[in-house]
Symmetry: C2
Subunit: 219 residues, 2 copies
């Protein structure tokens, strides 16, 4: 495919490594809340569906964070991972398409745990423009470029219907957006400097169905 591999001076690793680091970070935070201060790779993996070797290897791409014979100091590892992933400082993001899904995302508290904040929202629907939803004012699409540039937002959530997704993505890129989390079921064509992640629930569900059908036949 493309944009699936990351290379440093040290070595190369896959993009999946980064997703797993994010998973590790979230679980480490839970452990910290429970008061656990040190954990070994063997004892954290039951929470994660990942092998302990993989856990250690993923970390090893970025440095040595554990202590042999002991394990990992939870607080330290959280800090290191936040540093690696970039969530040690706040990230401002934009949202386009304040429909059902867009509104759910606006109200999602989960993002704040990652230091992520939706600072502006846009919609083409005149009835929605001007309303304040979950503390964010919905702006007209015409103001998209100005506001995104002014607020120096680099990431956007794209929640419009698929037929307008390509057009919207082009406006976002023109406004300086460098990363798009795309919820619409359409593969976007963007310059290679822009990073797109797709969240495709219908595909997920369809592959789930394939499995079920298969297992039923077996049983």
């Amino acid at each position: 495919m493309e944009r699936e591999r990351i290379c440093t001076k040290k070595s190369c690793f896959s993009f999946d490594t980064i997703k797993r680091l994010s998973l590790y970070l979230r679980n480490l935070k839970r452990l910290k809340e429970k008061g656990i201060e040190v954990i070994s790779s063997d004892r954290i993996i039951p929470l994660l569906n990942v092998s302990s070797a993989q856990f250690r290897k993923d970390l090893s791409y970025f440095g040595e964070f554990g202590k042999r014979g002991v394990g990992y100091e939870v607080g330290r590892l959280i800090k290191e991972l936040e540093e690696i992933l970039g969530t040690n400082k706040e990230w401002k993001i934009a949202l386009v398409g304040v429909g059902r899904l867009g509104q759910a995302l606006l109200g999602f508290e989960g993002f704040s745990k990652f230091n992520i904040k939706i600072v502006c929202a846009f919609d083409i629907d005149k009835k929605k423009v001007g309303k304040v939803i979950e503390g964010v004012k919905v702006e007209d699409m015409k103001k998209l470029k100005t506001i995104i540039k002014r607020k120096r937002v680099k990431i956007a959530l794209l929640c419009t219907p698929p037929h307008s997704a390509q057009e919207v993505s082009e406006k976002l890129v023109a406004a300086g957006i460098r990363g798009i989390l795309n919820f619409s079921p359409l593969i976007l064509k963007v310059p290679s400097s822009v990073f797109v992640s797709n969240v495709d629930m219908a595909c997920e569900l369809e592959s789930l169905i394939f499995f079920l059908k298969r297992n039923e036949r077996k049983v």
Copy 2:
């Protein structure tokens, strides 16, 4: 990891192949709507971010659907893929946790294109129980087992907060659910006969941030 590989008498292929088939199917349907009747692997891939060799190989695991020198007949390929994926007949699914995200999913028209229908919804909140949202009545968690068994539902969308997700998943499994699309940021522990797919938006976003941070440094 686990549950990542599918083997038939013919050969073995990865779970990613299935997700791609789902992607192909959706795009083929769009082509059909546009009136395109025949397409070659070289001309469909610009829509997909997949190589043409991959496209052909993914299909080859299931049979020979193309005609050399010509390409694929769109209508036929759609039928074949629907057959393979199992979406040629209607699938009934359940939803648990009628919060912001749950309500967005209840109103999502996209599922119907895949012959997927949410036939029941459950919540623990007494204020929500009894309401009808997007044509689906919200039921009490106590009735979960009875209703799911009676309607013979095998797939569920899990949209409760993470702290109750494990508990809810156990109730679902006890009610006969065999596939769970999990939106809560928690790795579920379920019997190996149950298939879980995770949709983890916060992880996606966090890995996006990693990339941006990286590119900025480069620039």
